[in-house]
């Protein structure tokens, strides 16, 4: 926190000089559209650049602004959040290998710009539901890193007290974490239904993968969402593979933003956090202005296998993964833009990285040393309103627990 405060005060002072340097650079550059710029605004210096290939449109006359920007403060905040998600997943990876995490565990690494960029454009009362690759979204929806990691280790301070595990995390306005492929999509439309029913100016974001995009219930949800003009943003996080099957082998039409002939669609470069934010603003405006649902396809990539059990190398090459890491990584590329625009220094990034590292270490420590729930707790939370004298049977005829209030 101190680092931020100090630098925010210091940087605007040399903002104009940075801008002049940047403009000079822009003139000299042969690819001006990709150049970043910094400009002085009342709120401080700004990172801005054109991203001509950030979007593709379906049934939309106009799309989001190709000129994207953020303040220095926002930029550092996005960088930090993406790093938290990246390092949190690295910690989950390590703890899984150390057998502290059991069962299924699907890592979000590589897709960070999607959750950080989208959340930045959402209202605090907007809702969200996702699939089983849920850790990054759980953190972005307000659960602490400890809440996520302790859930993964099955401890009582986990966000679901260790009852849910990797795929079943929840939070305020966050409806999970769903283990059944595609099931969250109609649920998300239902949450949007409730927003509209109550007359709220809010949307529900319903996320699914490129694999789930083929589930029948997704199309059923599309139909009703359009019929009833539900404020739902359907988001396909296309990371290229549904488990071990590439989109080309699973989808007759792999253009997920063009999957519906009556709902507009928007393809977004999901590796660019600012493009994601800009596109989400656009989609949110679309929904809240009463036009009904919209489909977004976030072009992204997962670095790990489908889950911890999948080495992720039998259906794609190691070179492919390395190539994305080198050329399209959402964190490294954004960091580079901020550096290039001289909005932040190497030292500042190092400072943030160290702070994040400490945060994750503390959470990891907590997640490993917390106790599990008492055994008797396995009988609670079956009903919110158990009938009088309601007894739950254990594993034999001599084990019963009265759970009535």
């Amino acid at each position: 926190m101190n680092i931020y405060a100090k630098l925010i005060v210091r940087l605007p002072a040399n903002g104009w000089r940075l801008l002049l340097q940047q403009q000079q650079h822009k003139i000299n550059s042969s690819i001006p559209s990709l150049a970043t710029a910094v400009r002085q605004a009342s709120s401080g210096p700004i990172l801005e650049y054109d991203e001509p290939n950030a979007y593709k449109l379906h049934m939309l006359e106009e799309g989001p602004n190709n000129h994207v920007s953020c303040t220095r403060e926002e930029g550092l905040d996005f960088y930090r959040k993406m790093q938290v998600v990246r390092r949190m997943e690295a910690s989950a990876n390590n703890m899984y290998k150390a057998k502290l995490i059991r069962g299924f565990c699907h890592l979000y690494s590589g897709q960070e710009a999607v959750c950080v960029g989208m959340k930045a454009a959402m209202d605090k009362n907007d809702s969200l539901i996702t699939a089983y690759r849920a850790h990054g979204w759980t953190y972005m929806m307000g659960v602490s890193v400890t809440g996520v990691l302790a859930e993964l280790t099955g401890r009582k301070t986990g966000c679901s007290e260790g009852r849910g595990g990797s795929m079943h995390m929840y939070g305020p306005n966050f409806y999970g974490g769903n283990g059944i492929v595609g099931a969250q999509v109609p649920l998300g439309a239902g949450v949007a239904f409730a927003h509209k029913y109550r007359g709220e100016q809010n949307v529900c974001v319903a996320l699914y993968g490129d694999g789930a995009a083929n589930q029948g219930q997704v199309f059923e949800a599309f139909n009703m969402a359009k019929l009833w003009l539900l404020p739902c943003i359907f988001v396909c996080e296309n990371n290229g593979y549904g488990m071990g099957t590439s989109t080309a082998r699973a989808s007759a039409n792999p253009n997920f933003y063009r999957r519906c002939e009556y709902i507009p669609g928007l393809w977004v470069n999901g590796m660019d956090v600012l493009a994601v934010r800009e596109a989400t603003r656009f989609a949110r405006n679309w929904c809240t202005s009463g036009k009904g649902p919209i489909i977004m396809e976030m072009a992204t990539y997962r670095y790990f296998g489908h889950s911890m059990s999948d080495p992720g190398t039998s259906y794609r090459t190691r070179e492919e993964v390395q190539d994305v890491r080198k050329s399209r990584d959402p964190i490294a590329s954004f960091r580079e833009k901020l550096l290039q625009a001289k909005l932040a220094t190497e030292d500042e990034f190092k400072g943030i990285d160290n702070e994040v590292k400490k945060l994750i270490e503390d959470a990891e420590n907590h997640a490993q040393n917390d106790p599990e729930l008492q055994v008797d707790e396995l009988y609670s939370h079956i009903y919110s309103n158990p009938p009088a004298n309601f007894k739950v049977r254990g594993c034999d005829n001599f084990t019963f627990k009265d759970i009535s209030k």
Binding site: K99, R102, G103, F104, A131, Y132, E151, G154, R155, S160, E161, G162, R163, G164, G165, S166, M167, H168, N178, G179, I180, V181, G182, A183, G211, A212, N214, Q215, G216, Q217, G242, M243, G244, T245, R249, A250, S251, G305, H306, S307, M308, S309, D310, S314, Y315, E372, L373, V375, E377, L378, Y379, I382, V392, R393, G394, C395, D396, N397, F398, T399
Partner: protein, 359 residues
């Protein structure tokens, strides 16, 4: 979801099971198969034997199966016979059922039976009822197979036992094998059967070795659907179980042997039709009955077994009320301790046997 089986993970969990699974030195000289090998071989042989047979499901071809149950089959038999589908259970279960109606013999793999809920309408309304509704015109020779029940640490949505759900439906045949011999003989029988069969495997058993006879290794080895097996003879109490429940009973029986209690373990093998005779005959001999399963207690397989005994002449032979050992009546928690206490352990079986026998 879900779910690619962790080879590392399952090996580890199997190590744990293997340690608790007694293998006598004699068995080491006999031929043995893992459940995984038994199922893969049975499918391989039936695909080779009958050109109408094909395997369809998620990740069954290029990936060798999410749990590696179809290892090598796509390489050997090709795209036509081993078909990868998108992650769309309702669609491919319907397509497989339609193909069966038209005379093919699909083996439809559900990555786990938890995902069969997405497709249950086709299992029940399309497959199970067609023969009856058409007055015998439309046959549906299909096998729906995959792991059923809880694996390790996969949480509530991936841990359900569907035995009693499917066993309730007329028109279906439902099999829940325990040993490698069960798997080989019954899967081959299921594929050759003209009716729709639900074949419920258990992931925790996949890596376990079981001894097999030469007879069971023959290409034409089939076991009769609807017949159980006395897995262990005894005279003091009848333990009725299926799938991984049999393993629990065998361990409990071994433990009680030392205190002079001889348990007879009935491996049901088929849940529909249910082999009533084998249970009745055993109960008439032992006079005591206990059922063991991992599914929930209400309307469970144990409930059905006990009801049938109470409705039959074997009731008069009972010397104490029969009781059930089941999974706890809760959605399964992720945390290890809670999970363990939600699933029946050998201790639950031993304690229940002693209570029934008043010992």
């Amino acid at each position: 979801m879900n779910l690619v089986n962790n080879i590392l993970k399952s090996h580890n969990s199997m190590e744990v099971l293997r340690r608790s699974f007694s293998i006598s030195p004699r068995l080491l000289t006999e031929k043995s198969l893992t459940i995984r090998e038994a199922i893969t071989q049975a499918m391989d042989e039936e695909i080779s034997r009958d050109e109408r047979v094909f395997l369809i499901g998620e990740e069954v071809a290029q990936y060798d199966g999410a749990y590696k149950m179809s290892k090598g089959l796509w390489k050997k038999h090709g795209d036509k016979r081993v078909v990868d589908t998108p992650i769309t259970e309702m669609g491919f279960a319907g397509i497989a059922t339609g193909a069966a109606m038209a005379g093919l013999r699909p083996i439809c793999e559900f990555m786990t039976f938890n995902f069969s809920m997405q497709a249950i309408d086709h299992v029940i309304n399309s497959a199970a009822k067609a023969y009856y509704m058409s007055a015998g015109i439309v046959k549906v020779p299909i096998v729906f197979r995959g792991p059923n029940g809880a694996a390790a640490g996969v949480g509530a949505q991936h841990s359900q036992d569907y035995s009693s759900w499917y066993s309730q439906c007329p028109g279906l045949k439902v099999i829940a094998p325990y040993s490698a011999e069960d798997c080989r003989g019954l899967l081959k029988a299921a594929i050759r059967d003209d009716d729709p069969v639900v074949f419920l495997e258990n992931e925790l058993l996949y890596g376990l070795h079981f001894p097999v006879s030469d007879e069971a290794l023959s290409a034409d080895f089939v076991l009769p659907i609807g017949k159980g097996k006395i897995e262990r003879e005894g005279k003091h109490i009848t333990l009725v179980a299926y799938s991984i429940g049999v393993k629990l009973c065998m361990e409990a029986a071994k433990e009680l042997e030392q205190s002079g209690i001889q348990c007879e373990v009935v491996n049901l093998r088929s849940l529909r039709p249910l082999d009533e005779d084998i249970i009745k005959n055993s109960v008439k001999k032992t006079h005591y009955l206990l059922t063991v399963e991992f599914g929930w207690s209400q309307c469970s397989i144990g409930s059905e077994v006990i009801a049938r005994i109470c409705e039959s002449d074997a009731f008069d032979y009972l010397d104490a009320p029969p009781i059930r050992v089941t999974g706890a009546d809760v959605p399964l928690a992720y945390a290890k301790t809670l999970e363990q206490n939600s699933m029946p352990q050998v201790a639950n079986v031993v304690k229940s046997i002693k209570k029934v026998l008043n010992k």
